[in-house]
Symmetry: C2
Subunit: 217 residues, 2 copies
């Protein structure tokens, strides 16, 4: 699917504009959603009573069928990065990436972006808590989307995370970010994760540099 011509920017688009790709009825979206459920189901599965060998075989068979018709990786990368705008494959928001929880982010009129997400066992670090590195992943990505919404984005140069309290699994978390200022090619952006009672779990400060990695062609 070709992304939109340019990602939405604050001022040009209304409060509440969805800034990430959302899951649609396309077969790839449905298959990826099933794979996402599978990751979770394997971690929750009965280790003894279930025919896990049979499951392994059924999954290998699906992968073999997919691989038999897959294009060369380089061609797929070119296709993945064609067009401009919102990608569908990233590991945080991508409806075509089973690793993504996925997080959906909306742009606000005040320049911030935010979204709600409930994390489950695949994202666990300490018992019943989100892995600190997964919180870093959510925040790095959300800071990047805030930059895009502000109209100026780039590559992460430095990211500092403060962990204020454990971030719970199984509860709706709010992830938010906002670009603070720019100076030449430097961009400073902040963000945070709060639990469903509004308590601050993790905060982040990022320095980004306005440059891009070339796209595959």
């Amino acid at each position: 699917m070709v992304p939109e011509a340019r990602p939405p920017r604050m001022g040009e688009y209304p409060d509440g504009t969805v800034l990430t790709s959302t899951r649609g009825d396309a077969a790839i979206d449905r298959a990826t959603h099933a794979a996402r459920r599978l990751i979770d189901a394997l971690l929750r599965a009965d280790r003894d009573g279930t025919d896990l060998s049979g499951v392994a075989e059924r999954l290998e068979s699906v992968v073999d069928d997919l691989d038999a018709q897959a294009p060369a990786v380089q061609d797929r990368l070119v296709d993945m990065w064609s067009g401009e705008g919102i990608t569908r494959h990233d590991p945080v928001t991508g409806p075509e990436n089973a690793i993504a929880p996925p997080l959906t982010l909306s742009g606000r009129a005040d320049g911030s972006v935010d979204g709600e997400v409930t994390m489950t066992i695949p994202y666990q670090g300490p018992p019943t808590c989100v892995h600190g590195g997964v919180s870093a992943l959510l925040l790095d990505h959300t800071l990047g989307v805030a930059n895009s919404w502000a109209g100026r984005d780039g590559m992460t140069a430095q990211l500092t995370l403060q962990y204020h309290r454990p971030t719970p699994l199984f509860r709706a978390l709010t992830v938010s970010a906002r670009q603070e200022r720019t100076e030449g090619r430097k961009i400073w952006t902040v963000g945070e994760i709060r639990d469903d009672e509004g308590q601050l779990c993790v905060s982040a400060e990022g320095l980004f540099i306005d440059k891009k990695v070339p796209r595959p062609r």
Copy 2:
């Protein structure tokens, strides 16, 4: 599977001791490995010529079968955290977690830990590069394992990442870490990711606090 009684520590175990769970022949390991291949295959798949609706149905059927016999989440969490030592379910090294690349880490006699890993399309941020947040995830976890190897670990309180150059996909990366010092309950640990030419891609500094989240019972 019940983890070992206590994670290995430097001084008590030899140089090269593997500190993470490795994939075995157990059916759950094989099924999870197939799911890991599936995540990648879905991102590489031909979007048009493949019967992705059929794939979605086959995957839904597997998930339904797993869910039909799955224990209650709370019981599964208790089981997952029983015993002491190396877990098998975390999102970085866990052979039972399809999100994990997985990374295997070894302890060194000098107190450091390291491992090699090649990242693929599911972990992509910028074109053909590892997502900055994924690098943060790898490093946060590796710093934690370095703390365990040093005999003193805890929860991440602060993590600072410096991104020196883009981290490439499809090339063997070396992830390493070492505990620097402790003071009371505070633990300082550093780590880095280098590419297959030894170039520094990402470095990390973490402050950890020696405390634990209670285990589910």
